[in-house]
């Protein structure tokens, strides 16, 4: 089975702290994603990466950055955490984007619930 692992289920941080959320997938997937999930807003894409060291902004990149130094690991960084970044963060990966079939399926981690005080 594909496994997407997020390093923490729950995090509590202080305003202004630098926060790292880590995500690792074990199936050699090309693409990785970071989403933010808030009630009534669904999933909103923060950043995605289609290759090592490659990244593209999603819909809400402000206040976030990402790092992908190795294919299996995709990190989300909050440079200076703020209270409005309190949320559930979901990491996902997909095998690829070309062709049809299973390459389109997203596999998700269990999520990290971040509270910024």
């Amino acid at each position: 089975d594909v496994k997407v692992t997020q390093s923490s289920r729950y995090l509590v941080k202080r305003t202004g702290e630098k926060v790292f959320l880590e995500c690792v997938q074990d199936m050699d997937h090309e693409n990785m994603f970071w989403y933010r999930q808030d009630p009534g807003l669904g999933l909103r894409l923060i950043y995605f990466s289609y290759d090592v060291k490659m990244k593209e902004k999603g819909d809400i990149p402000e206040g976030y950055s990402v790092s992908r130094e190795k294919k299996e690991r995709f990190s989300l960084i909050l440079e200076s955490a703020s209270t409005n970044q309190t949320s559930m963060y979901l990491c996902a990966s997909t095998p690829g984007t070309s062709g049809r079939g299973a390459k389109n399926i997203q596999y998700f981690g269990a999520g990290t619930r971040l509270s910024v005080l």
Partner: protein
């Protein structure tokens, strides 16, 4: 820009009954993919079912089936013989043609299953 709309924030169904969750989307593309994802209270999101727009036949996975109406841009999920384990948030999602990385999710429908 593409959008996905789930107009039912919450639904309830009696155990063993059938329920249909609605999803509509807007796109100018002719080739795309549609998905239903389930997020149980433990929060790990999993794929329930997917549909490729070029296929006219509705997808089916055991008790889960979709009603895909391409002209109406509608993609509803039917759950038959509902079970307590079906209680979850359900998200409808859209992805454009190959080479497009972005998935667009609806706001979700919380399904409650009553014993």
């Amino acid at each position: 820009a593409q959008t996905v709309t789930q107009s039912q924030p919450e639904m309830s169904v009696q155990e063993a009954e059938t329920v249909t969750l609605s999803c509509t989307y807007d796109t100018s593309e002719s080739d795309y993919y549609l998905f239903w994802y389930k997020q149980p209270p433990s929060r790990q999101m999993i794929l329930v079912i997917r549909q490729e727009a070029y296929k006219q036949q509705n997808a089916t996975e055991n008790r889960f089936s979709v009603n895909f109406q391409k002209a109406a841009k509608s993609f509803s999920l039917k759950i038959s013989d509902s079970q307590l384990g079906d209680a979850a948030m359900y998200f409808c999602a859209y992805r454009g043609r190959a080479g497009t990385y972005k998935y667009i999710f609806g706001t979700g429908t919380r399904l409650k299953v009553l014993a």
